[in-house]
């Protein structure tokens, strides 16, 4: 019973929501505009730092979130100005490298008194004000088969806030997808020069898309660190690659794709790992190995998906048919 609860609990876990948010941002970059952002984790980490550090120094929640968003916007501008006029590969390289730079600077010993170095920032330093805001009573609650703390760490309160954020971002995305602004972005994805010849300023639109997607990434970072501590190494390259996996799994250029992709990936992964843990005795495979094996199995499943359903779960096959 606890196994089933654990597996299904991933469906609405805060981390699932965080990845969904990051993937929605990436969807604006890649699915809508065709920008290859290979460093979404950089936006997330920067957002998390912006939030946690200001919280540590006693700022209120609102200005902390605002500061996190501001950092991400400035970061997007810095990355975008030199690269957006060049080809798509340049943005991919620069975002990948910049995300690593953010992580390495964050964990360097010289920054210890600001970022906490490689140990990061402990949860009690930045989550208390968020937890105090909760209208829920103290203690734990059980809903159907799930029991979580109401307010502390991996809590119901965080789940509510995280999924409200996801819903809000998905709504914004939906509005944008169906608007003339979204149409221009999709046009840029298809053919930049054609859009230019019709009098639209391509660089401006790309910059807007980069910033908006980055803001969603920063929010994702905040949600990501709230149930745990802020550790720079937990927001490294792998997070970017999971985000890409989620986007492609759910279906790029769809509204619900990133959310569905995130739910499916985490439920699947937990299911594989939990069943292995129960069915295979630990003398044959240790729990460390199960962790790795879980990813291998998911990787194979994803390969099959990309071969047999390249448009993702929700994508439109017809759209993929034209490459010219």
């Amino acid at each position: 019973m606890t196994i089933v609860a654990n597996i299904l609990g991933e469906l609405f876990a805060p981390t699932t929501a965080a990845y969904a948010l990051a993937a929605i941002g990436l969807n604006i970059h890649f699915g809508m505009t065709g920008l290859m952002n290979m460093g979404q984790a950089g936006f997330m980490l920067l957002g998390a730092y912006g939030f946690a550090i200001t919280q540590m120094h006693g700022a209120n929640l609102f200005s902390s979130v605002l500061f996190a968003l501001l950092l991400a916007a400035v970061y997007a501008l810095l990355l975008g100005i030199p690269t957006l006029k060049l080809g798509p590969d340049y943005l991919a390289m620069v975002t990948l490298a910049a995300a690593e730079i953010v992580r390495i600077v964050g964990r360097s010993t010289s920054m210890t008194n600001i970022t906490g170095g490689s140990a990061g920032i402990a949860p009690q330093d930045f989550t208390t004000r968020f937890e105090d805001l909760s209208p829920l009573p103290d203690g734990t609650s059980t809903f159907l088969i799930w029991t979580y703390n109401n307010n502390i760490a991996n809590s119901w309160w965080l789940r509510i806030v995280a999924w409200v954020l996801v819903a809000l971002c998905a709504f914004l995305c939906w509005r944008w997808f169906r608007s003339p602004w979204g149409r221009v972005l999709k046009g840029i994805r298809e053919d930049e020069n054609a859009i230019r010849s019709l009098g639209k300023s391509v660089t401006k639109y790309k910059m807007q898309a980069l910033i908006v997607g980055g803001l969603f990434g920063a929010l994702a970072g905040v949600v990501f660190v709230l149930p745990r501590s802020l550790n720079p190494d937990s927001l490294g390259r792998t997070v970017t690659f999971y985000t890409w996996t989620i986007l492609l799994l759910g279906g790029a250029a769809t509204i619900m794709g990133p959310i569905l992709g995130s739910c499916v990936l985490w439920v699947l992964l937990t299911a594989v790992k939990e069943t292995m843990r129960v069915t295979i005795p630990s003398t044959v495979i240790s729990s460390n190995q199960i962790e790795a094996l879980g990813w291998i199995i998911v990787g194979v499943a994803l390969m099959l998906l990309v071969i047999f359903r390249p448009q993702g779960i929700l994508g439109n096959k017809k759209e993929l048919a034209f490459n010219g």
Partner: protein, 339 residues
């Protein structure tokens, strides 16, 4: 067997009787008049004021390269573009008459497309200056060029494959407030403009015989249909000068005729047209002025008749049989006689 024979009989009867109810008759597939390719009737010109004026004005212009014209909309001076050691474009002086239909012809690799790219900001010349409607256009970005009213199409067609035909058209519309990031979130601010644009787009699609395709992905269009879509899209913003790079390549002859009428009617709306075309009949039919380019330079300019009788042009570009229908028997006879 009887079933198979029925259709032609029906068709024949219908022609005889003339009043057979259309719905009950099985439509023969070979009824060519019903193909979706039949162009709409030619435009009824409301007036020919601009056409007459241009003809009158150009009648007094000398037929030599780089000549000054009474009312130029685009003036280029000393525009040179080199690719490595090769000079692709080297234009001393060139003017395009306002409201005129100017044809730019010349052999492959003459530099016509490169000239288009230079004028519209997609490429930067090594030296030179050019003015559009009195404004200096050096260092102006392509999007600003287009917003200024100079819109071009591409020889290698550029359509947005994974957008619908209608969306492609709507992207051509200028001044849609919903194209701002924040305003796009409030449909109330752009719905009305969107509706107007849609009506305009549908009217143009009707004209270009693409209305049935309006909800299909543009990537599913045929080569000729893409050319048509691109041209229709360029007309969405009512440009002052539209530059068409081989607009009729791959378009069927009947539709070509009808689109030529459309181009002529564009002139009466105040649009100036510059087009590149290898089809000499089309040039002869609609151009007010013909410019010949070869190896990057403008080698001849003038009234269509004069230019096409110019022995140098005939020799270098048109070929000896320019006036002859190459499909006709006369060519074969000529060849046989010679051999």
């Amino acid at each position: 067997m009887a079933e198979n024979n029925k259709a032609p009989v029906d068709a024949a009867q219908r022609h005889d009787v003339g009043a057979a109810p259309a719905a009950s008759v099985r439509e023969p597939f070979y009824d060519i008049a019903r193909w979706g390719t039949k162009p709409p009737e030619g435009e009824d010109l409301i007036s020919t004021a601009y056409g007459d004026k241009v003809t009158r004005d150009l009648a007094f212009v000398e037929n030599k390269p780089g000549v000054h014209k009474p009312d130029p909309i685009l003036v280029a001076d000393g525009v040179v573009r080199r690719f490595g050691g090769m000079t692709a474009v080297d234009v001393d002086h060139f003017e395009i008459e306002r409201h005129g239909i100017t044809a730019l012809i010349g052999p492959n690799g003459a530099g016509k497309t490169t000239f288009f790219n230079l004028m519209t900001g997609f490429d930067v010349p090594n030296t030179g200056s050019w003015h559009f409607d009195g404004k200096d256009m050096q260092h102006v970005h392509p999007e600003q060029v287009a917003r200024g009213g100079m819109v071009r199409t591409f020889q290698l067609t550029k359509v947005m494959s994974r957008l619908t035909v209608l969306d492609n058209m709507l992207l051509g519309a200028p001044d849609q407030p919903g194209e701002g990031m924040f305003r796009s979130l409030f449909p109330g601010m752009w719905r009305r403009k969107e509706r107007e644009n849609r009506e305009k787009a549908e009217a143009l699609l009707e004209r270009f015989l693409l209305i049935k395709k309006k909800d299909d992905f543009a990537g599913s269009l045929s080569g000729g249909q893409r050319k048509l879509l691109e041209m229709a899209r360029a007309l969405m913003c009512d440009p002052k000068l539209v530059m068409l790079d081989e607009p009729m390549a791959g378009v069927n002859p009947a539709l070509k005729q009808s689109l030529l009428d459309h181009i002529i009617s564009l002139r009466e709306d105040g649009t100036t047209v510059l087009f590149v075309e290898h089809d000499i009949n089309m040039v002869r039919h609609i151009a007010d002025w013909v410019t010949v380019m070869a190896e990057g330079r403008i080698v001849a300019e003038g009234q269509p008749k004069t230019v096409m009788d110019d022995p140098a042009v005939v020799d270098a570009y048109l070929g000896a049989h320019a006036d002859v229908d190459l499909g006709g028997d006369s060519v074969l006879e000529g060849l046989e006689e010679r051999s």
